[in-house]
Symmetry: C2
Subunit: 237 residues, 2 copies
Amino acid sequence: MRLMPSLPSRCAECLVRDTSLCSAMRDDELHALSDIARRKTFPAGQVVTWSGDPNSLCANIVSGAVKVTASTPDGREQIVGLLYPGDFVGQPFAQDAPLTITAVGETDLCLFPRGPFERTLDEHRAMERKLLERTMESLTDAQNRILALGRKNAVERIASFLLEVSERMGSDEDDSASEIALPISRGEMADYLGLTIETVSRQLTRLRKDGVIALEKGDRSCTILSRERLAAIADPD
Amino acid sequence: MRLMPSLPSRCAECLVRDTSLCSAMRDDELHALSDIARRKTFPAGQVVTWSGDPNSLCANIVSGAVKVTASTPDGREQIVGLLYPGDFVGQPFAQDAPLTITAVGETDLCLFPRGPFERTLDEHRAMERKLLERTMESLTDAQNRILALGRKNAVERIASFLLEVSERMGSDEDDSASEIALPISRGEMADYLGLTIETVSRQLTRLRKDGVIALEKGDRSCTILSRERLAAIADPD
DNA sequence: CGAGGCGTTTGACGCCGGTCAAGCTGGAAT
DNA sequence: ATTCCAGCTTGACCGGCGTCAAACGCCTCG
């Protein structure tokens, strides 16, 4: 009989052990999170938390992606955030959860009940610090999206989006992939970029006809043929 | 000869002692901040920090207001945030300062050099916690603006803005004032709402003609005649 | 194989808001 | 007073993007 390793077994082969909030924890500290965590797989399109639900959940994204959506009372919808593996989901210390969280593609989450998660933050300074830094990064992302929505036209928004996804999807080795597996549908791209499906489709074919990207049809993949030209479109001079 | 009071004298009559980050500090702890702080008054329009400057400053807003702006390389400008008395300005732990901070109207700031400020965060848990909560609130604000910019038309954005200012400007006693002293010019409203000056002006006169608001001309004040109707315009059903 | 449904593409048209331009107002300088 | 100037308002026009509609490709299910 051998001793338990200090790293919780369920965390041992976690894909985001070193990229999520957990990267702020030593192996032996991770039990604090592991003990309150529940792993769950959400099929594509399943809602994790509805707007208006009591704010009871926080989570790490292990694989897949989630969209954070807000909507006007009359039903117009806007994706206010897209989160990827390693990202943190939730609002510790907040009362309400005004936003809807939905899985985009099959998604694995590592769920924490909010109360115990907050207590873990209390006890693990480094994790709270990391959460603060992550939250500030999210704010910066949001500010970039505000610039895009307020001042960029359709092509520019789409070009920016493709570059953004390319960077986030780039595997750890090569930083930015040229062939992107778009995580979301045309309709979701529209909801993310403040456009309509038709405009997204038209501008994508425009980029294709101009030889900037290639689209394999029926598939959601997109290849960047000239990153340089795409960047020039995203941030014109 | 009497003992020094535990509250630093310069903080004794500070207008935001109990609303800024400082509200997380006991009187006797405030010396840690007071010792590194420098009060400075910025005239209207003066830039506090340029985009691209080294990220060396954090601050509390004591009076006035600041705008946080981003811009595209070709010069289109967007206000990504408006901050009021009691709000915190800056990005501790971040490398660069990609945004420009500008005083809007005469503004008093309580400035902290970033390094020492970060050390103060290290030593004062409660303040770091408060900063985390504030940052999450800012993120929520930003998400609301993303919804507005992505999915609302001109009148709706302006109505939302007026209500927003009315709530933030409402003195402590009555929560939301009906007569608003608009903190910014038409041009800045345009930059904030992703519109042009002309559109802002037209939609404001439209609201005036419809009897929803009154505008005293020459002055930057605006009176909400029917908060109910304004709210119905901001979030149509 | 064919039927049906979903996501996407493409087209025709109209409107909201941007652009350009002119006039208006009030305050500061002279 | 007169001039000047910055900020605001108003008007005429136009183009980008939304709206409505139809067709296409791909998948699943009968």
